[in-house]
Assembly symmetry: C2
Homo-oligomer: 278 residues x 2
Amino acid sequence: MLSWVNGRPQDAVPVTDRGLSYGDGLFETILVASGQALGWALHMDRLARGCSALGLPPPPIDGLNADRAGLCAIGPDPAVLKIILTVGGTARGYARPDPFAWRRIVSLMPAPAWLRDDYESGIRVRWCRQLWFSDPDLAGIKHLNRLPQVRARAEWTDAGIAEGLMRDPEGRVIGGTMSNLFVIKDAVLATPNLTQCGIAGTMRARIMAIAHRLGWTVEETALSVMDCYRADELFVCNAVRGIRPIRQLESRMFRPGPVTRALQREFGFPWPIPEDAR
Amino acid sequence: MLSWVNGRPQDAVPVTDRGLSYGDGLFETILVASGQALGWALHMDRLARGCSALGLPPPPIDGLNADRAGLCAIGPDPAVLKIILTVGGTARGYARPDPFAWRRIVSLMPAPAWLRDDYESGIRVRWCRQLWFSDPDLAGIKHLNRLPQVRARAEWTDAGIAEGLMRDPEGRVIGGTMSNLFVIKDAVLATPNLTQCGIAGTMRARIMAIAHRLGWTVEETALSVMDCYRADELFVCNAVRGIRPIRQLESRMFRPGPVTRALQREFGFPWPIPEDAR
């Protein structure tokens, strides 16, 4: 793994870093393919929203652009570019340093192995017991306080389970631990609204834009467990793994359907959809 | 600042540390005076509860004992010993490393300047707008996901304000950003119950034990803003700064009263209470 801190090769950060001490910062995980950081502008937009939500100055976009260009010129391809932006360091105490200086921690590592079957036949998912508690102040943004997702992911070790779905305390489905969820019923797409909790994924945004362009109805709404079981099609998505149909949710079986196939085709990454579905 | 990582002098951690990536870990902040780490057993107990709540193995007590002894032998006194315990490192992904290995990050730094007036006359505090959202799974423990407290602390820059009080979404008072709160009315002590959110401080536990020993009534209960305004005495406490009376909450003035003075006297640290109150 290649790693730069504030633009210089470095694989460690001071123990006083506030990202470590308090999770005082944000992150982005970006797919790099053929030298391109896919959805870069959307990632930078979310980072800017996150900075604003945390009461921080705008992100150091010029530095991040330079990091991206520098690392992509020397690193593997395809790859995952991970950005962590922290508030720098103080010895102790919740008060932020004054004057303020961003710490940019940018790493590039080989892309994960994409399994063709995950895209063609779909994945198995389960419900998590861990709830996604509400915090409207932080809803949607990708900050460094991720214990609920870590705890949810720790609920299973079966390698055959690709993702777990999380609900809020009122039983509304919020999404996967590391992905957003889409539910298709009668040719209408629905995805959980994320005004109270959850992370608003860049792939989610791209899929909504594609669906609008194709003239489909897309709703951001409250979704129940039963909405999932009654769906015609279900899929999860994120920036690194793209669109993966759900073929099994607990004991309920699904088949990847025409809406999922059309979106996979439009998106075209990370795996060419099967010929027979074109 | 002296810093050891896994028992060796080191002032940095790998960028892959899961404390940095996700806040996947816990911390303790302990006062060291005359070579003693005050309340060590209570801090270790909370750490053990935190590990259990996060679904992690018991804390590496032997290693932490060695770190404490080693650092206290060479460091300043009085001092603050800060322990961060993280789940180690993985390049990416919420799944924890298997096999598992703790990373112990232990630092020793000079104690803060204690201001005599804070203990004698008391401090000024304010209400924070930032809410302490509920998460019963994580309530009470001192994990590394502390963005709500960071955001609350960022609400003021006036150096004359020593602490901010936080409420939950139902308006119940939870405590200070970095301290626990006690409300005294008609010789009864009350402190917020922390079953839904908040951090259960070691000083809070010690004060409750002292109060019980003195035969006083202590309630862990839901407290409203009005309960605070109507109190006879108010104080905040934490392990590093001890017991500080509140002399002003917004525009309401208080005088340190007999219960606060008696507790300060019993506790005897970090500042001898004024002679005239003995």
